[in-house]
Each structure stands twice: as structure tokens, then as C-alpha cells.
């Protein structure tokens, strides 16, 4: 993958109040999401090019609609 300027990178974040630690996101996107000892996601905020599709999928699959992808 070619190097791309950082400015356009998407940001992934979680609304921790909405999150219930179901863990689907970490299964879909293990490259960016790890679970802590209680099953709640720890997220690498910046989404590199090439993973945007997976990130969108994780957002779509979250049963709590707690994930957010933004510029």
C-alpha cells in the first residue's frame, strides 16, 4: 500500500456508555481493536487506508451502535 497523507485518515471511536462489551468489533477488526480484561474494546483511533472497509463493517455489526467512524 502506498504511503498516504495522514490528514484524510478516518478515526474510529466508541461510545463507552453505549458499549456493553459484546466483542463483535474485535472479531471483525482485530488489527485495530483489542479487548481489555473485561471484554471492552481498546481501539487504535486512526484507521489506516485499506482497513476502512473492515472498520465500516465493525460499525455496522455493533449490536449497541456504539462504534463511530469519523473524519
Amino acid at each position: 500500500m502506498a504511503m498516504q497523507p495522514d490528514v484524510a485518515a478516518m478515526k474510529l471511536s466508541v461510545d463507552m456508555i453505549a458499549c456493553e462489551g459484546r466483542g463483535l468489533c474485535a472479531e471483525v477488526l482485530p488489527e485495530l481493536i483489542e479487548l481489555d480484561d473485561w471484554g471492552y474494546p481498546m481501539i487504535a483511533e486512526k484507521v489506516p487506508y485499506g482497513l476502512e472497509g473492515h472498520a465500516r463493517e465493525a460499525v455496522r455489526l455493533c449490536p449497541r451502535l456504539a462504534l463511530r467512524l469519523s473524519r
Binding site: 463507552m16 453505549a18 456493553e20 481489555d36 480484561d37 473485561w38 471492552y40
Partner: protein, 426 residues
């Protein structure tokens, strides 16, 4: 600044205290207040930008703990219409007293500041959310002003929720809107959409008091005490093992040892110093004594002045046990909304308790959890502050950890201190 027509006693730049009564106890009545400081500023549309520039020159930073530049918050909200100002006098932290003392002794200075902030951002209204212990007193002062018709903006006082996390800015807004003192999700920016959807400026009450004086006397006056990078004075709660615990006003940058001397110095040998508050850091008193009480001065110790607490732990109280009690308290004061805070703080407090009372702690798990909990993951910074305090305890009480591993403890069993949290309410 030239707009200050009245130069009261307080206008001499190097003189302290600036915020608290110079002698006697408050509450200072309106007449005495005006006598001391001169008429309150009432910034209007015309001088708004100039005065916000003055606040920026003054270098005033928030005194609620986070230390955010006040001018930047003012400018953000001033750029929007239909704003509202909230003075945050919640002070939910049990050991901290500086905001309560300020509101009780100099209520009109806080209200001046709330009115000034409203003028600066073009808000018709300012609400001061005050700790229940001083809310009546502050409300009486606000009535006194209404009778004297000295404010252009509407001032009101609302008693705060009696909860630790209730002081977080979004929690204060949530409390005013729904009587629910719990933080809300992070994407909501209060300066854009705060109280009832209005652009909202939330400022700590001490910050407002400084603002009231900057708008009167100007930036150069404000910078007459403090350090070039952290100008002004600050209120400090001196708690624990000092001869005269209480609230004192100091120029930022006074060495920690000299600050403790204001309270008569330590009342015995000290085992640790809690700097900043329950969200602060434990440091070695000997290392801290010569450091300036400022962000820069304490950074090397992993501490910061925070909300202005200096808590002296007597040597006969085990630092690990005290840290464990505070960690347990902070875990119990979680608003219960975010998983890592609910489960993480409970687990961390549990391991710290094992460490303190020698029941086979798992230090590796404790360190892993310190790495996992906090770090901006929650809706508010409650877990971040709690974890930072625990991490500092592990750093500062390293010798005690080794001692406990051999079955010993340097403290007197069961002994608590004035820094210990109150018994659980729920």
C-alpha cells in the same frame, strides 16, 4: 488595561490574598466587597474582544483541575449565539475545600466572575452550581446583588449534586437538565451544544473569581504573582498532617515546602504527599519540598497542582493502605456507565487492597489493568484520574511494597488519616 477606574486595596499586584478576605472571615457583604475591589466590570459587546484578549495576555488557566486556557474557552463560546455560563462550584472531592471556602468567604467575587464571563461570551444568564454546604449562602449574596441592581445579566445559584463525578462538566449540565449528575457521551461538545442545546461555558468558580479581577485590573496586574508560564495566584487546600489545615492562597510556583509552612508545616514525620487531589499523584515529601508548586515544577515527579490539594500523609499511616482506601472510594463513586470504569476500577482497588493488607497481590495484573483502564476510553476522566493516582502510589511507595512482600508494614495497623475518604454512603 485602562478601563479600571477604581483601584482598590486589592489592586496592588504583589499582594496576597487576592481572592479571600485579607482578614476576618466571610461572607464579605456586597458593600465591603465593592469597597475592596471597586465596581464589578460589566463587559458589553464593544469591549468583549479586547477583554478576552486581556484574559489571554493574563494567561489564566482553569483552576478546576484540568488547567485549560480560559481565554480559549471564552473565545469559542463568544463566537456563538444564545450562550449560557455555568460556574462550577460542585467540588465533589471530599478532601478539597478551596471552592467551598472561596464561595463562603468571597461570594460576590465568584458572582462578579460569573457575570463577567456572561458579558464576555454574550450570555444573558449565568448559573452557579454550588456545593450544597454553601449554596444558600451564595444564593443570599445573589439576592443582595439583585436588590442593588448591579448585574446586567441574570444570575442564579443551584445546589450541586452530592456526588464525586457530579463535578465533571458534562455531568453538571446533565444535573441542571435532568437532575442526573452523570457525565454524558464524549462527542457532545458543550461549547457547541450544552445546557438545553445552548453553547455553554463551564468554568470552575475559582477561575471565575480570577476572571473578575483580570477584567478589573488587567493582565499585567494578574501576572504580578506566579511564574511567567503559569501566572497568578491559586487557592490551595492544605490537608492532613499539617499544623493548621485549611485553605490558603499562594502565588503559583512557591516551593511545596514553603506552601506547607503556611499551614505551620508538617505536624510530624510524613510518609507521603498527595498532590492535586484524589485524581492527583502521591509523591515523596522530601523530593517535593524544593519543587515549585506549578505544572512545570511538579512534572518531573509525575504530579501537577490539579485542583490545588496538598495532602500530607502522616508516617504512621501506610501509604498503600491510604491509596487503596481512596481507590476503593473512587471505584464506588463511578457513575456506573462505562464498563472499564465499573469493572476496571473495582478490580484495581481489589488488587491494591490485597497489596495493602498483604493477601497475595497480583502485581502483574494490577500493572496490566493500569495500562488498560483510563487513557481517555471513558465518557469522562474519572477512571483516568483514579488510575493515575494508583500508578503514582506504586511508584512512590515502592519500598513499602517490598516491605509488605516480607509480611511487614511501616504503618500502624488500622490507622487512617484526614485524607481518608468518608465512609460509603450507598
Amino acid at each position: 488595561m485602562t478601563s479600571a477606574t477604581h483601584v482598590g486595596v486589592a489592586a496592588e499586584a504583589g499582594l496576597l490574598p487576592r481572592l479571600l478576605p485579607a482578614y476576618g472571615a466571610g461572607p464579605v457583604c456586597l458593600a465591603d466587597h465593592l469597597q475592596r475591589y471597586g465596581p464589578p466590570p460589566a463587559p458589553g459587546r464593544a469591549d468583549r474582544a479586547e477583554l478576552i484578549g486581556e484574559v489571554e495576555l493574563a494567561g489564566l488557566a482553569g483552576r478546576g483541575g484540568a488547567g485549560f486556557p480560559t481565554a480559549r474557552k471564552l473565545a469559542t463560546v463568544a463566537a456563538r449565539r444564545n450562550a449560557v455560563v455555568i460556574g462550577n462550584g460542585t467540588e465533589g472531592e471530599p478532601v478539597s475545600a478551596k471552592d467551598k471556602v472561596l464561595m463562603a468567604q468571597s461570594p460576590h467575587l465568584v458572582l462578579d466572575g460569573a457575570a463577567a464571563a456572561a458579558g464576555l461570551v454574550g450570555a444573558p444568564e449565568a448559573i452557579v452550581v454550588a456545593h450544597p454546604a454553601v449554596a444558600d449562602l451564595l444564593a443570599a449574596a445573589s439576592r443582595e446583588r439583585r436588590r442593588a441592581r448591579i448585574d446586567k445579566v441574570r444570575l442564579s445559584v443551584v445546589p450541586a449534586a452530592d456526588a464525586f463525578v457530579g463535578g465533571e462538566a458534562s455531568a453538571v449540565v446533565h444535573w441542571l437538565e435532568h437532575r442526573n449528575p452523570r457525565p454524558t457521551s464524549t462527542p457532545r461538545r458543550l461549547s457547541e451544544r450544552g445546557l438545553h442545546g445552548r453553547p455553554t461555558l463551564v468554568q470552575n468558580v475559582e477561575t471565575l473569581a480570577h476572571l473578575a479581577l483580570i477584567t478589573r485590573y488587567g493582565a499585567a496586574w494578574f501576572r504580578g504573582v506566579g511564574t511567567p508560564t503559569e501566572p497568578g495566584s491559586m487557592l490551595v487546600t492544605l490537608a492532613g498532617a499539617v499544623r493548621h489545615p485549611g485553605v490558603y492562597e499562594v502565588g503559583i510556583g512557591l516551593p511545596v515546602g514553603a506552601v506547607l509552612e503556611l499551614a505551620g508545616g508538617p505536624s510530624g514525620s510524613l510518609g507521603g504527599l498527595l498532590v492535586g487531589g484524589y485524581f492527583g499523584a502521591w509523591v515523596d515529601p522530601a523530593l517535593a519540598a524544593n519543587r515549585p508548586l506549578s505544572g512545570e515544577g511538579l512534572a518531573g515527579l509525575g504530579a501537577s497542582p490539579g485542583a490545588g490539594l496538598l495532602g500530607a500523609l502522616p508516617a504512621e499511616v501506610c501509604g498503600l493502605a491510604e491509596a487503596a482506601r481512596i481507590a476503593r472510594y473512587l471505584a464506588s463513586e463511578s457513575a456506573g456507565q462505562c464498563g472499564p470504569c465499573v469493572f476496571g476500577l473495582d478490580a484495581i482497588a481489589g488488587q491494591l487492597e490485597r497489596l495493602a493488607w498483604g493477601r497475595g497481590p497480583d502485581l502483574r495484573a494490577l500493572r496490566r489493568w493500569i495500562g488498560q483502564v483510563g487513557h481517555g476510553r471513558g465518557a469522562c476522566k474519572h477512571p483516568d484520574g483514579a488510575v493515575a493516582m494508583v500508578a503514582s502510589a506504586l511508584r512512590t511507595f515502592g519500598g513499602e511494597i517490598e516491605l509488605h512482600a516480607t509480611g511487614w508494614c511501616s504503618g500502624v495497623p488500622g490507622r487512617t488519616s484526614a485524607l481518608s475518604p468518608p465512609a460509603r454512603r450507598r
